[in-house]
Structure formats: C-alpha cells, structure tokens
C-alpha cells in the first residue's frame, strides 16, 4: 500500500496543528460576528436595514451572504437525505416524490420569491430572520432538487452484491445507511451540491434585494450591495463587488469544496486504483494534524453509543413472500387517488386564474411565454455555435483543458446578475432594445454550462479515434460530421439542458433591468412575472409561474428527454 501524498508531505506536528486550530477559531469568529447581524430588529416600514456603499463594508456583507449560502446548503443536505431515502425505499412514496421532483426542478424559483417572502416575514414578526429565511429558502430551492435526485439515483443503483452483503451480515437499517447507502451516494451528492452551490449565488443575489407587494426589502449582503450600487449609479462600488464575489468563490472553493472532493474520492464505487485523484492542500493539512485525529477519536464513543441506539430502533426488516408481491388492487386504488389529487389541484388553480384574470389574459401570457422561449432557443443556438468549436479545441488539448475547465466552472458559478449593470449601461449607451439585450443577459450565466460540458465531451473522445481520423485523412467538415459532433453530443445535451433551465430562471431578472432610475423592459414571460411579483398580483403570479412551468416541463418532455435518450442509445462513447 502506498502512503498518501499528504502523509509524506506531513508538516511538523506544531505547524499543521497550529494552522488547523487557528483556522477553526477564525471560522467560528467569523460565523459569530456575521451571524449576529441576522437577529437585528426589523419592523417595516419604520425600521429597515440599509446597505452602505463603502467598499470597506464589503467583506462583512460577503460574510452575511456566504453564511446564507451555507445555511441553505445544510438545509438542502438534510432535505436530500430524507427525500431521496423516502423516494428510494418506498414504492408508494416514489410514485409521488419522483415526478414531483421533476416538476420542482423545472419551476422558475424566482417566481416564488414573493410568496415565500410574505410567508416568512409573517413567520418571524419583528425580526430580520423572516427575510433571512426567505432568501435562504430561495437558495435552497435552487439546490435541493438536484441534490435529492442525485441521491435517489445512487440509492436506486446500489450494487446488488453489496446490498446482499449488508443483508447477509444482518446490518440494521441505520448501519446499512451509514455503511452502504450514504457512502455510495456521496460522490454524486458532493458534485451536485458543488454545482448547485455555484448556481445558488445567482439566486442569493436576486433574493437579497427585491420588491414584493410594492415594498422594497433589503437584506444586508453582497447582492443588496450590488442593487444599491445600481440605484446610486456607483460604478466603482460595482467593481469592488465583482472583485469581492470572485474572491469569495475562490476561497469557498479552496477551503470547502476542494477538501470535500478530495475526501469524497474514497467513496468511489469502482474497485480500480485511480490514475489521478483530486488533491487539496487544505485536506492534506487537516489529515496530518493530530488535533483533528484526537477530535475524531473523542467523537467515536458518542458515535458508538448513537449507533447502538439507532440500530435497535431500525432492526433488519424480515422479508417474507407476502411483502414482496402487493395486491394489484391496492396499487390501482393508489394510482386513482393520486390522479384525483393532481386533477383537483389543477382544477382549483385553473378556477382561481380564470375567475380573476379571464381567458384572454391566459392567451396573452402564453404568447409572452413564446417570446421568452424564442429567446432561450436563440441564445442556446448562438452559445452552441460560439462555444462548441472553442470547447472542442480546448478539450483536445489536455494541458489547456486542465487550466480552462476550472475556469469555465468558475464562470458558471459566478452570479451573472453582478455583470448585468455593466451590460445594462452599454444597452442604454448604444440604444439596444432589451428585447434583444435580454438574450445576452440570460447567456451571461447560461453559456458556461455548454462550454464546460463540451470541453469535457471533447476530452473524452478517445485519442485513437482522433488518430484514426488523421490517418485516413478526414477533412475538416467530415471530421466534425463523423467524429466530433457525435462524440460530444451527449455532453452537449447535458450542457444545453442545464443552460436552458438556467436561462428560463434568469429571464425573470433579465427581462427587466435598471440603471439608476432608468428601467429597460423586454416583452416576455419573465418581465410579466417580475412585474406581477413587484405589484403583489397573486392571480398573475400564479398564472405566469404556472405557464412558465408548463413551458419548461413541456420542452423537457418533448425535446430534451428525447435528445437525451438518443444520446444514451446511439452516441454513447
């Protein structure tokens, strides 16, 4: 057995321990300082928190925002474990929870902000916690569904022999969860959490400063700092915010995600030794520190005790012939019940919308949806034309790919709404209509997913196939047609699905933008939802969000599902 690189490069006892202790104290201090801000009094409209544009306050605001992100992540994690487990273990739960996830993944998160903000403010009267909770909930809804789905999938695809081994050795439900199910899901969960966390910054920025029900709410944070800078037309402040955001993303990556990815590598299911495993200097330092080791040892006894208690609660289930086959009648009744509930909900929603806004409005909104759909389609097409050749060129050069792939990931997680003001200013200066400009805004966030996936897809085309193409002298066009396009198709589909989902969500903040007191508006469903949210017009919010969900779910079913199936079947490398 080879010793790990970490233990070879082991710092002397003092250094790594001092580093770890100082690091832990620092994190605690920051959390305490920043977290206290969440408990200040908040009694609108008399007592509202404000945001100062002094750049020296930025680290504090960034801290507040980051804390929100982590609270949301923790909530998503807990949700994922419960939801994913329930969906995977119970046939009846599965039939409700999985389609529900599918819909939730497609619903525009930002359209719900108004509902959640009013709800949470009512929940915590007189405290800023309500707004905090609403913002955290917005981030949560952008992360939780992906993570839950990933965990559910890992649970459904557990290797049969390992499941059998845990049964043969009579592990309790808790032990099985701890030894098999959670570890098997870890890598998928970590990657999904990391990607969703990156996407979460966007929703954080959008949820910190919003106007709901004709009331402007401001939650101190980096997102509301940007909003304030836009209102004050303060260009330098915007620059500082962008810089701070970049630093925060890098710091979180180095100190949180990298160590976790390096640690999670041991949960790989394949039995072969990897040629290249992820590295993290933070993780190595922690592993070579004795303080951490002591701490883990100390926790062990509590852990043993807990495991014994939970094990007696979750004794091995005895499978008998009866529990294997369920009567078909019960199944059918259950289906009928589900269809009934879904039908009733749809009818109630319909009635609500029709009695308040009427049929013509529905048609108008469907038309607006078509406008936004057109934007999404054009933006994906343009992003594909622009980024595919670049991505392929990068993917074919391993050295470039190693450097630029993390950069593409970084750009994907950088909240595009921080760049919006710069673009808005340019639109105003050059007189560009937002009807076209909003496509650029939507693309600012979405295009990176295409680039990122195309790089990965191109890198996975085997070298011998490329050598073969050289060898038989395939021309440039033929090479694209026969080798490259089919080779990256799967990856492109994955990227385009993510990009289109991101673009729909972004439309709500991209079709209405302001700079100071100037506001640009585009014709589209996103602008419609944004306007309805600002006014607190419930029927129109319901209608807008409902129609957008129908569009997204519909396109997923009609287009993306089929392309995905085609990619799996025919273009699988």
């Amino acid at each position: 057995m080879l010793p790990s690189p970490g233990s070879l490069r082991r710092l002397s006892f003092g250094l790594s321990d001092v580093a770890v202790i100082l690091g832990m104290l620092l994190v605690l201090a920051i959390v305490a300082k920043v977290g206290a801000g969440a408990f200040v009094a908040f009694t609108p409209p008399n007592h509202l928190p404000s945001v100062s544009l002094d750049p020296r306050n930025l680290p504090y605001y960034a801290g507040r925002s980051t804390l929100r992100m982590f609270v949301a992540l923790a909530a998503s994690f807990v949700f994922t474990l419960i939801y994913g487990y329930a969906a995977a273990r119970s046939k009846y739960a599965e039939r409700v929870l999985v389609p529900l996830l599918d819909v939730l993944q497609s619903v525009p998160v930002l359209g719900f902000l108004s509902i959640t903000v009013t709800g949470f403010i009512a929940l915590f009267p007189g405290s800023l916690l309500g707004l905090e909770a609403a913002s955290i909930f917005a981030i949560f809804t952008s992360q939780a569904w992906n993570m839950a789905f990933s965990f559910y999938q890992s649970l459904r695809t557990l290797p049969a022999d390992l499941v059998e081994a845990t049964e043969a050795y009579r592990l309790s439900g808790w032990q099985r969860f701890l030894r098999l199910e959670l570890p098997a899901g870890t890598i998928g969960l970590v990657w999904n959490a990391m990607m969703s966390f990156g996407g979460g910054w966007f929703f954080l920025a959008a949820s910190e400063a919003i106007s709901v029900l004709n009331q402007q709410y401001t939650l101190p944070g980096i997102g509301s700092y940007v909003a304030a800078a836009v209102a004050a037309r303060d260009m330098p402040a915007l620059g500082w915010a962008v810089l701070t955001m970049a630093v925060v993303i890098l710091v979180v990556d180095q100190f949180f995600w990298r160590p976790i990815v390096a640690w999670a590598d041991k949960f790989r299911l394949d039995q072969s030794a990897a040629s290249e495993s992820p590295q993290s200097w933070v993780y190595d330092t922690m592993r070579s520190s004795r303080v951490v080791l002591r701490l883990l040892r100390a926790l062990r006894r509590t852990n043993d005790w807990l495991e014994a208690r939970l094990s007696t609660l979750t004794r091995l289930r005895v499978r008998t012939a009866q529990t294997v086959s369920r009567p078909a009648l019960v199944d059918r009744a259950y289906d009928v019940l589900l269809i009934g509930i879904v039908g009733a909900l749809a009818a109630i929603g319909f009635r609500f919308v029709l009695t308040t806004v009427g049929f013509p409005e529905v048609f108008r909104v469907v038309g607006l949806g078509a406008a936004t759909l057109l934007r999404v389609v054009v933006l994906i097409a343009i992003a594909t034309v622009v980024w595919t050749p670049i991505g392929v060129a990068i993917g074919f050069t391993p050295r470039l790919a190693r450097i630029l792939q993390p950069l593409a990931l970084f750009l994907a997680s950088f909240p595009a709404n921080f760049i919006f003001p710069f673009a808005t200013l340019a639109f105003i200066r050059f007189g560009v209509s937002l009807n076209y400009g909003s496509m650029l805004l939507m693309a600012l966030g979405a295009q990176w997913y295409i680039l990122f996936n195309v790089i990965a897809g191109a890198a996975s085309i085997p070298t011998d196939l490329r050598e073969m193409a050289d060898d038989i002298g395939l021309g440039r066009w033929k090479r694209w047609q026969r080798l490259i396009a089919p080779g990256i198709f799967s990856a492109w589909v994955t990227g385009a699905i993510t990009a289109s989902g991101g673009a729909w969500n972004a439309s709500i903040v991209s079709e209405v933008v302001s700079w100071g007191s100037t506001t640009l508006t585009a014709t589209g469903l996103g602008a419609y939802i944004a306007a309805a949210t600002a006014k607190g017009d419930w029927p129109r919010i319901t209608l807008g969000v409902g129609i957008m969900s129908v569009y997204v779910v519909g396109i997923n079913r009609v287009l993306w599902r089929r392309l995905y199936a085609l990619a799996e079947r025919k273009y699988h490398l």
Partner: protein, 438 residues
C-alpha cells in the same frame, strides 16, 4: 447420523413471467441438508438455480414453496447461522480491510475492543497480516477474496456459505486460495462447523467436498448426490478421485444420465413441445465461439472424440462456458456428446472446414432446422409484408416463457445467430428486424 444444521425441504422458487400469465420455475421440490462437520458442494450448470437455492437457505430471498429450517428454527429473513462469501467479493470499497471484516460483528453489536481483537485474528488466519488499513482497491483479486473469507469467518458461523468464491479469480490464484481454505478445514480448527459451496467447477467440487449434490437445470432439481469417499485432503492423483471427476463430467454433459453411487432422483425433463418453438431456449453463445470450438476439436481429435474434461483443461475455459458452447454445438447438430466424449458430426466437420461464405450457408441450414426460435422469427418475418417487424414483438412472445432478463438475452442470441446466418438484419437504433429472402 450427525446433527442437521440446515435442512431445506421441498423448496421451490418461481417468478411470474413479465406478461403475468405464466410462471417461470427456477427451483422445483428441492431437498438439501447440511450436517455438522461436512463440506457440501452444490454442483450445477447455469440455470440450475444453485445460487438461488443458496440464497434461499441463507434467508436472503424467500422461497415460493417448501421450508428451510436452520438450527431448529424456520428461516425467515437473513439466517443468523450462516456467513456468506460472495463471488464478486462484495467488499465495501470505502471501508478498510479491518473495517470490512468487522462488519458482521458490528451488526451483532460486539464492542469496539473485542471487535478489533477478533477481526485481527481473522485477518491473520487468512494471511492478510499487515493489510489491515488498506482499502480494497489497493488489493489484488485474491487478496480481496481473502478479506471476504475473513469477514465470514470472524463471526464464527455454523455454516460457511460460499457462492462460487473462486470463479472471479485467475486460475493460479484460485488454486492457491482453494488449497489454503482446504488446509484450514483439514487442520480441524476451522471457525465454522460446516461448509456449503456453490460451484460449476467439477474439479473444485471433488477437491473440496465430502458430498456433491448435482443439480439439474430448467427447472433446478436435485439429480443426485455423489459421496466423495476419500481421505482428506483429497489426492488429485488418486484413481478414485479421477474416476469421480470423470463420472461427474459425464453426468454434467448429459442432462438425462443417471447420477450413480446414490439413489438418484431423475431430473424432470421438460416435454418437447413443437407447437411452441419459443419454449426451447438457445444457449447464449456466439457463432464465432462455436466454430472456434469445432475447429479445435477437429484439429485435436480428427474424426475421433475428445473428452470434455480434457477440452476444458486445454482451452483453459471455465467448464460452465464449455458446457454452453457444447450445448449450442449439439443443438445445432454440429457435435454429439456421449459419456463425456465430444465428437463432431459430418455437418460439424463441414462447418469447421468451411470458408466464411460456405460456413454461413451451413449455419443457416442447421439453424433453420434445429434452432426453433431463430427459425420461428425468420418464418414470421417472411410472412410479413416488407419482411420487417419491431423486435419488441418477439420480445413480448419470449416473455411468455422466460423472465424479462432471460427473454432479452434469448432475443439477443437469436438475433446474433440469425444475423450470422443472413436470415435477417437488425437495426439497433430503431429496434427493427428486417427479414431476407430465404
């Protein structure tokens, strides 16, 4: 008579076919008992349900009929009297060697100190000293299976269950580990009272077991029991040993032959039903493999015969694979097997000698006449306008006779054979079969 540790009485197992109309029977009316102090081998070819039987006795899957009594109690849920060694090792990749070995003890709630002590002893026993903190992916296949043995032995089960424990290892590693396990058993300090091993390897069964239970296939039944009445350790050069191996080879290559040395139970042979061509399963073998074997036999034995046992050895082929290939050759009328001796038919010799194009003609002729599924598909396609049909149509028919996975495999094999014979073409993307004029 010694103590009965586990007794399975009249055990059966069947699944509903995917169309819900019929039943696919894996095991029918099987009686097996494991006594204290013996090594029992369940020997059978694929489809004999031997692994299913083992899992029913281990309480991992419920039986459809009959009872399993272990230590005087009926088995319901995972059987606490047994510990299992898996073919695929089934080690948790994120646990170290010692953590994997401790798994069963943890489930029993054994305290940490005691657990570590016993695990270290078991690791020592299987010769993995020094690898306690290694992860499975750092180990070779043989070492992984040693961990599998340690994990099973550390709980000191009444009966050690082994499900083809050596078949995922290369020949030399398997030989080595098999010998060590045998030595441990013969030394008399083995941490289990009995061993039940599932295998398709005749040599392995005779070498390890005191009793070999021969299972017949489709559905799985006990064909008979052969006592390996030799002093332990079994000496491979002993004449009686060789005779036993040869007898078992003959029995295994001939599904209707009586198993001697025992009151034999004849396997219930499925009545041939010519009205249902889809009920005759194809062995899952590629055409190229069949022709390879025929050429090999032709070259080695000329017009004479070749013993199956020798064939497996000289081809370094797992016997189970060899049997499938032989089955296919016999089914197609290219070869015959009589008491363990393989000889080619005139058709088989022609096929082995033919050029590519000729061989396709010969194969087509034989397949149409003797492989009912292939012939039936070709006939249906011919009757259809345009000679094209979706493959799902045939899958639906096959699912009336086989479970879903097996139906898919049957279709895949039929398509492979039909394509080779140029009876039909298959478009995998559209899932469509296109017949060709015959």
């Amino acid at each position: 008579m010694t103590e009965d540790l586990i007794v399975a009485t009249a055990v059966g197992k069947s699944f509903p076919t995917p169309d819900g109309k019929g039943q696919f029977t894996v095991l029918a009316d099987v009686d097996v008992a494991v006594h204290a102090g013996e090594v029992v081998a369940l020997l059978g070819r694929s489809g004999s349900g031997k692994s299913t039987l083992l899992r029913i006795m281990a309480g991992l899957i419920p039986a459809s009929g009959g009872t399993v009594v272990s230590g005087g109690r009926p088995v319901a849920g995972p059987n606490p009297d047994v510990a299992m060694v898996f073919q695929s090792f089934a080690l948790l990749p994120w646990l170290t060697v010692i953590e994997n070995v401790e798994l069963g003890l943890e489930a029993q709630g054994v305290g940490r100190i005691e657990r570590t002590k016993r695990a270290l002893r078991a690791i020592d026993l299987v010769g993995l000293d020094g690898f306690e903190s290694a992860y499975p992916r750092e180990l070779s296949g043989g070492m992984k299976q040693r961990v599998g043995f340690a994990r099973a032995l550390v709980v000191e089960p009444n009966v050690l269950f082994m499900d083809e424990p050596f078949s995922a290892l290369d020949v030399l590693t398997a030989e080595n580990l098999r010998g060590e396990i045998d030595d441990l058993w013969n030394a008399g300090t083995f941490p289990a009272k009995s061993i039940l091993i599932v295998t398709h390897n005749i040599e392995e069964a005779v070498f390890l077991a005191d009793r070999v239970i021969v299972l017949g296939a489709n559905p799985g039944t006990v064909r008979g029991v052969v006592s390996i009445d030799l002093p332990r350790p079994h000496n491979r050069n002993d004449g009686r040993y060789k005779a036993l191996v040869e007898h078992l080879y003959a029995v295994m290559t001939n599904p209707t032959m009586k198993v001697a040395a025992v009151p034999s139970v004849e396997g219930t042979k499925r009545a041939a039903d010519d009205a249902a061509p889809y009920s005759h399963p194809l062995p899952h073998v590629r055409v190229g493999t069949i022709s390879g074997l025929l050429e090999f036999v032709q070259e080695k034995a000329g017009d004479g015969g070749q013993e199956a046992a020798r064939l497996a050895e000289s081809l370094a082929l797992p016997v189970d694979d060899l049997f499938s290939i032989l089955d296919a050759a016999v089914l197609l009328g290219f070869a015959t097997v009589h008491s363990g001796v393989v000889s080619l038919t005139p058709g088989g010799r022609a096929f082995a000698d033919a050029s590519i194009l000729q061989s396709k003609d010969i194969f087509r002729e034989h397949a149409l006449e003797r492989a009912p599924i292939v012939a039936a598909i070709a006939a249906t396609l011919e009757k259809k306008d345009g000679h094209a049909m979706r493959s799902d149509f045939f899958l639906d028919i096959l699912e009336e006779y086989y479970p879903e996975e097996e139906a898919k495999r049957q279709l895949a094999t039929a398509i492979e054979w039909g394509r080779y014979a140029e009876l039909f073409e298959y478009d995998a993307v559209e899932g469509r079969l296109q017949g060709q004029a015959v």
